[in-house]
Symmetry: C2
Subunit: 301 residues, 2 copies
């Protein structure tokens, strides 16, 4: 699992900083999460192939999280895309995007499939054999969701030494990987646990931006390997954070600590600060494993 930060600054694109967008590589999927203005250029700079993106998750409809989407869709069209594109985001996103395409008489040649979200409870919005995605309802000025990306348990691993020892025929390997017991030639049953090993541990990534400090998030991100939590402000601007429904670095760290996550990444920094290092310092007073997002950084799990 690998997280590419394309942009992690609040509010408005600037010469050296980009609004929110990131790509999560997870079990061969390339999930695009939020799509601020300039995301398509950031994808190019970070050498992420446009054709690998089939699912886009939009947290909320503030410009710094989705104004890059109409342009990205148009570029997909110009590149001759044929594959379906799935877009998950708040109700209204379909009307907004389709109106802009209609104004330019620029219909896509590929299917644009919108999954509009309205629930205020966490819900499963994507699932295949490898990965599932659940929403994390957040507390912002408009309807907003974070997203929990979870690997699903893979097949069990063949215990190569064991199958050799018991001379198990190759025809049974698929059943063994599926966790099934084997009936031997003499009619006896060989327990699956004798022939296979546990699959690799599943990994979990939680994305929480934008949100005010909200303890309801904690059970939803419990124990994840990686938590990206917004920290627009430092504690010195705590009242501004409360007013605008954003979080401070300290508050993000409290969520990380109470949810017992493995690692916290801070992002969505207000551009009022000259350096982002104080965000880490403030968070580390509460939670030790803190990293700072920055445009172009990648994080591996």
């Amino acid at each position: 699992m690998k997280l590419h930060i394309l942009g992690c600054y609040a509010a408005t694109p600037r010469t050296l900083t980009n609004p929110t967008s990131q790509v999560l590589e997870i079990r061969n999927h390339m999930f695009l999460i939020d799509c601020g203005e300039g995301t398509q250029v950031q994808l190019r700079k970070n050498k992420i192939k446009f054709s690998r993106i089939s699912h886009i998750f939009i947290s909320h409809l503030h410009g710094d999280h989705f104004f890059g989407l109409p342009g990205l869709i148009s570029t997909f069209r110009l590149l001759g895309r044929e594959k379906d594109l799935h877009i998950y985001g708040p109700e209204g996103i379909k009307e907004g995007i389709t109106l802009l395409l209609k104004l330019g008489n620029s219909w896509t040649n590929f299917n644009l499939i919108f999954h509009e979200l309205t629930s205020k409870e966490s819900e499963l919005i994507f699932e295949d054999s490898k990965v599932k995605v659940n929403t994390i309802p957040l507390d912002h000025r408009i309807y907003t969701n974070g997203f929990l990306f979870s690997e699903l348990p893979g097949e069990r691993k063949l215990d190569v030494l064991a199958v050799e020892k018991y001379k198990i025929d190759i025809a049974f390997f698929k059943r063994i990987k599926q966790g099934k017991d084997i009936i031997m030639e003499d009619g006896s049953v060989m327990a699956n646990s004798e022939l296979s090993l546990d699959p690799p541990q599943t990994k979990h990534y939680a994305y929480c931006s934008d949100t005010g400090f909200n303890r309801d998030i904690i059970p939803l991100v419990k124990g994840v390997d990686l938590l990206y939590h917004e920290a627009t402000f430092l504690e010195t601007e705590a009242s501004l954070a409360k007013k605008t429904k954003h979080s401070t670095a300290r508050q993000a760290a409290i969520v990380a600590k109470e949810a017992k996550v493995s690692r916290l990444i801070l992002g969505h920094f207000s551009t009022r600060y000259k350096s982002i290092n104080p965000f880490r310092d403030e968070a580390m007073e509460v939670f030790i494993n803190v990293d700072l997002a920055d445009d172009g950084r990648t994080f591996e799990v």
Copy 2:
């Protein structure tokens, strides 16, 4: 008069090239012409103050000419703008922009005044005491206008030597600048032409993008000081130009030559070409005074 090219490439923003946008400085106005994705970052890079922009002219509603507009308007709001913002563009632009702002619950604190265009004939869309703007109907796949920006004649200049010679009282200077004759103390009339000089010559800039080759443009841009004409393709792609309603460098030069303009700037280059120099070479076979636009270049008249 000064033209700042913020972006002059066709179709899609890339790492080093930007879609269409430019700023015309004319008699203290800063007119923004088209607003592709990334325009606000280009404004910053080119050190153009956001607060000086009050009028935005959008040629047509293809994404590479207006997908930067919602973000720019949002940034104006975040910067605390209070001044009116006038937007001139095709019918539908108001609905598109206001829907996006509504989705984000991000109404502007300043007046957003849309001037929607529908006419297929050239029309006057802006005029104050110094400048006027007329549309130039273009021939593209969707409804598109170019724009002709014209300085209006200023006041006549006082002929300092003459007013001294005839001992004209300072009280008459304003009338003289307005072109009026003066009645002298002895009752005789002193003709204005004896006391004043012609005002500086007015300058004219014509912006024509996007358009197929179209001779109807010629009388509308007759004799302008500066003509920006799109040249998406070279003659080797003439049939593609015709099909997509774009122009070749040669066709742009024919318009410049037949309209007897002083200087031609080519832009809106397709990103398929490795170098843009062949555009100048091709155009110069027809018209001598050719320049190439490029992101970050400025042209003075």
